[in-house]
Symmetry: C2
């Protein structure tokens, strides 16, 4: 195992990128950001061993990739672009240099996919592996919050839901990354923060949140912040191809995965229905003035709301 | 133990402060910062159980206070003011609500002492307690880096050194917080990030770094970044009152604590000697063109350089 300084030198070389927003990157007490006329958004997210990832199940590069994408997803939900990343790594003393290189290569790949430089961080020892990522972003227009939904707005979801949760179950059941569950496994291991949609969202949405804890819970957060209710048509929730069948083969309820699975890092937003281009997102329901969330099943009957993931439960 | 949402609600209430720099604090996917004409600096620092603090030795409020001050110290070293704080907490499932309240009250006390709001964060479960703090700052004039020292510059240290390291030894030896070692114990448990000196430093310094890993190691970093050497007079290093005697009574070498103890979070900087007000800092030596660091002992002879703290050694 290299010394701390040798490791920092490797990290510095690996993450060296120039950016018009950054005047000083890794290596000093702080990163230095050039002045910006934009409103900025700022978030932090932790990926912790045996809470957010399991080392036996995921490759080190996948752990790194996913940690950064999960953090950057919050920037997309605010209708912003990512400007810079700080990476705080806590490594067990048994973590080898080749493992660190793999983890960082996945992290760097995610940063490059987002077009955003890693400008600093922190390196320390710990008993369990963790990656805590802070991301700064510049908003495209006005920041989107959870609080702007109004009764009558449509509720929209980008991409598909449930794939990451089913992918995790498939991985646990021993399915291969290139088998029948490959698309779902990739959704879990290599999620994409939807920064590609920030500008489109900023142009039409009244409120937004990223779907990290599951649709039911994240929609609940948005409704609470906005002081509204929602009616969601379960059959309208967008799913990966052959989802119900793949879920059934693993003994899982597809609807439950779609409603409460989480970890897809797609965006949930509300908007005037007429302002949303159909290719941007699928409408899954409407905002109501009731203060409760109603799920409508395929038979038109109400479906009970599943509990989302609570880290402390 | 409360649920995650109950805990977030408590944290939100505890940290509620208004700030002209912040348009949205805790509670959404990101904090929102108003545009600023300033160059900004940005850092992250982790405080991890059994690496940076020992729970049996420190009260929870002291753990919280110290975690934030250690992170904010990097902002002071860049000649900047703190603008906002993100707090990523990882808590063991056994961590009780009253312990969390104590930890957060210390954290909030530190934030208030720095005049800087906590604007967001992250809360997760973990097997060991950790607090990862990200701080954004606005530079007063130009950002100070480690890289500007020139041969002939004086080397200066704010406050005193060695107290925190001696305080930790005293705590481990069972000394009370209000006894003979009280001042040193307070230096360890409740360090102060020198944001009070940011503007004075920005007005005179050519390079700066905060002293977290010990003078010898941090001066080494500054010299490496600046491509210079240094000559330091050990007897000129500022120490707490009665330091040599207190160290001797604990069986410690005072010089070694002052040179390599670390954790004082004072500032080390270089400057044209004529530009530094004597009350700002003590001159401890001069920058040279040699590329090595020389320590001059009380007898005029060279003292070997102690190794600083390396987390991976």
């Amino acid at each position: 195992v290299s010394t701390e300084h040798q490791r920092i030198a490797r990290i510095r070389a690996l993450f060296a990128r120039s950016s018009p927003s950054i005047s000083l990157g890794i290596g000093d007490d702080c990163a230095v950001l050039r002045p910006s006329a934009s409103t900025r958004v700022w978030t932090v997210d932790a990926a912790i061993e045996d809470v957010h990832f399991v080392r036996g199940l995921m490759r080190d590069e996948e752990i790194g990739f996913r940690a950064l994408m999960a953090a950057a997803s919050d920037i997309a939900a605010m209708g912003a672009d990512a400007t810079g990343i700080l990476c705080a790594l806590a490594l067990p003393s048994s973590f080898r240099d080749d493992q660190l290189d793999a983890l960082l290569s996945g992290y760097a790949e995610a940063a490059d996919a987002l077009g955003c430089p890693v400008v600093g961080g922190n390196l320390t020892r710990a008993s369990e592996l963790s990656i805590t990522t802070s991301v700064l972003g510049d908003v495209v227009a006005m920041p989107l919050t959870r609080a702007g939904a109004r009764p009558g707005d449509g509720i929209f979801v980008t991409g598909t839901l449930g794939g990451a949760a089913l992918g995790l179950h498939a991985l646990r059941a021993g399915h291969a990354r290139d088998g029948a569950y490959g698309e779902c496994i990739t959704r879990f291991l290599r999620p994409r923060a939807r920064l590609d949609l920030s500008a489109a969202l900023a142009a039409c949405a009244s409120a937004a949140i990223d779907i990290s804890d599951g649709l039911a819970q994240d929609l609940g957060q948005l409704c609470t912040a906005s002081g509204v209710g929602a009616r969601v048509v379960v059959s309208a929730l967008p799913r990966p191809a052959r989802f119900a069948e793949l879920a059934r083969q693993l003994g899982r309820d597809g609807d439950e995965l779609v409603l409460a699975g989480g970890e897809d890092y797609e965006l949930l937003f509300t908007a005037d229905v007429a302002r949303v281009a159909p290719e941007l997102a699928a409408q899954i329901g409407s905002i109501t003035g009731t203060g409760t969330i109603e799920l409508v099943g395929g038979d038109g009957r109400m479906v009970p709301l599943p509990e989302g993931f609570d880290h402390f439960r």
